[in-house]
């Protein structure tokens, strides 16, 4: 089946790994920073590694922020944010300096050291827990191990229509969220073996 999938390129992150994973699942995707393409894509993936502040500045400058918002609110598109990409979907980032995020989920991004005494960044495979079945986790069993690399986490102000999964690293934090149109994973599905491939498959289907 043909799907219109765009991986958003704003100069940060492992775009090729994400594209390889999508291709492995049998779908074609394009890598783009063109607001027009982003506005009209059925599925958007926002990857990312790096700084919240710099990434947001870049997304604003490239007019990608508006294109994403408009696509989700008017054109019926869906978005998946991965790692920093998930955090960028929040309303506020506090990394470096304060800056507004894309604002598709109400919450702010803060340092992991506020909730854990463990060594940072949090790197490696860790187990996550959900209190729901299906959605992004359809077809997965209880061994929900995923690959994490991060020093910040997302703190939600209002749960609204979102469902969450949680991970523990000295303290609990949100490892993923999903609503009808807006999805985010703090972990890297493209680096989490068959569990991760299943998450990407569930997002696209």
């Amino acid at each position: 089946m043909k799907k219109n999938i765009t991986i958003i390129d704003y100069g940060a992150g492992n775009l090729i790994s994400v594209q390889n994973a999508i291709e492995f699942l049998g779908y074609k995707s394009i890598i783009s920073n063109d607001p027009k393409i982003i506005l009209n894509s059925e599925f958007l993936i926002l990857p990312g590694v790096g700084s919240f502040y710099k990434s947001m500045q870049k997304l604003n400058k490239l007019k990608i922020t508006d294109a994403i918002k408009k696509n989700i609110s008017q054109n019926g598109g869906k978005i998946l944010g991965i790692c920093l990409g998930m955090q960028l979907l929040a309303s506020l980032g506090t990394e470096d300096k304060k800056i507004n995020g894309i604002g598709l989920i109400k919450g702010k991004v803060i340092k992991l050291e506020k909730i854990t005494k463990k060594i940072l960044p949090h790197i490696g495979f860790n187990l996550i827990k959900t209190d729901y079945e299906g959605g992004l986790f359809a077809g997965l069993n209880q061994n929900k191990f995923f690959y994490f690399v991060h020093s910040y986490f997302l703190k939600i102000e209002k749960k609204e229509n979102f469902k969450f999964s949680y991970c523990n690293y000295g303290g609990n934090f949100i490892s993923s969220f999903e609503s009808e149109k807006v999805f985010g994973t703090q972990f890297h599905p493209e680096k989490s073996q068959k569990n991760g491939l299943q998450i990407l498959k569930n997002f696209i289907n």
């Binding site: 492992n14 090729i16 790994s17 390889n20 994973a21 291709e23 492995f24 590694v49 790096g50 463990k118 060594i119 960044p121 949090h122 790197i123 490696g124 495979f125 860790n126 187990l127 061994n143 191990f145 690959y147 994490f148 690399v149 020093s151 523990n168 690293y169 493209e190 680096k191 989490s192 073996q193 068959k194 569990n195 991760g196 491939l197």
Partner: protein, 253 residues
């Protein structure tokens, strides 16, 4: 809780994957050989991370190395680290664009800290593995230099001005055990205890799953690696994973 990892390290030299024994190299096979003898599509079910090292960069095979990296990363969805001869930001970018998530640095962590600082600032310390080859001489560990094949700096001296803010993990390889299959030189890790739980990968000497298990069980070791291209051939990793999983809590798929 974060899980410990089983890592497969591939050593690459002049178009071939090699077996190293006490740092002398034996060419084993090319990419076709690797794909024929290891079920790469499924290998990620049995290992948690892949490291690929271009061990003789002076042979100027960087382009070939990147193209191999690109091919391997197309079908393996676990973290991939790559390194060997990383001496410029440009090479870092090329390696990351070829499908690696992290880079492995060896000589620049000792000889070019300015470069390491610049790279760390661009890609973040979590994306850098510092690699050290250690040799035991008269009961003291020395840092082995791959280019000069000599060990001039003692590990104690090295640790005195080690800046752990510049990388996220350390990969410790024993020159004495390298490729021997006699088991890890676990004693190496003692010296790193003062780094306060800094993530340590141990390498050099694993010949079977019992050796891997001995590394995993050590509380100061975060990941175990083997670069032994022949001891885990065929379904070797699958079998090793089965035995390890019975005795140790690794990530389950």
């Amino acid at each position: 809780m974060i899980k410990k990892r089983l890592i497969f390290t591939l050593l690459f030299d002049s178009g071939k994957f090699v077996l190293s024994r006490n740092f002398s190299l034996q060419h084993v096979g090319d990419l076709d050989w690797l794909l024929r003898n290891y079920d790469f599509k499924n290998i990620a079910s049995h290992i948690d991370e892949l490291i690929i090292l271009n061990i003789r960069e002076k042979n100027k095979n960087f382009e070939k190395f990147c193209s191999i990296l690109k091919k391997l990363s197309k079908e393996i969805f676990i973290p991939i680290s790559a390194g060997g001869g990383i001496i410029s930001e440009e090479k870092v970018n090329k390696i990351l664009r070829s499908g690696a998530d992290k880079i492995v640095c060896n000589s620049i962590i000792r000889k070019n800290k300015g470069m390491l600082k610049r790279i760390s600032k661009i890609i973040g310390k979590q994306s850098i593995i510092g690699s050290l080859d250690l040799k035991l001489i008269d009961n003291n560990f020395f840092v082995f230099d791959n280019n000069s094949l000599s060990s001039e700096q003692s590990l104690d001296d090295f640790l005195k001005d080690l800046d752990t803010d510049l990388f996220g993990e350390l990969y410790l390889n024993s020159v004495d055990r390298d490729g021997t299959g006699q088991g890890y030189m676990i004693e190496m890790v003692q010296k790193f205890k003062k780094l306060n739980n800094f993530p340590i990968i141990i390498a050099g000497g694993a010949g079977n799953w019992r050796h891997l298990l001995s590394g995993l069980k050590n509380k100061d070791i975060n990941a175990v690696s083997t670069a032994n291209l022949l001891n885990f051939i065929g379904d070797g990793f699958k079998q090793a994973r089965i035995e390890l999983t019975k005795r140790f809590d690794l990530p389950k798929w």
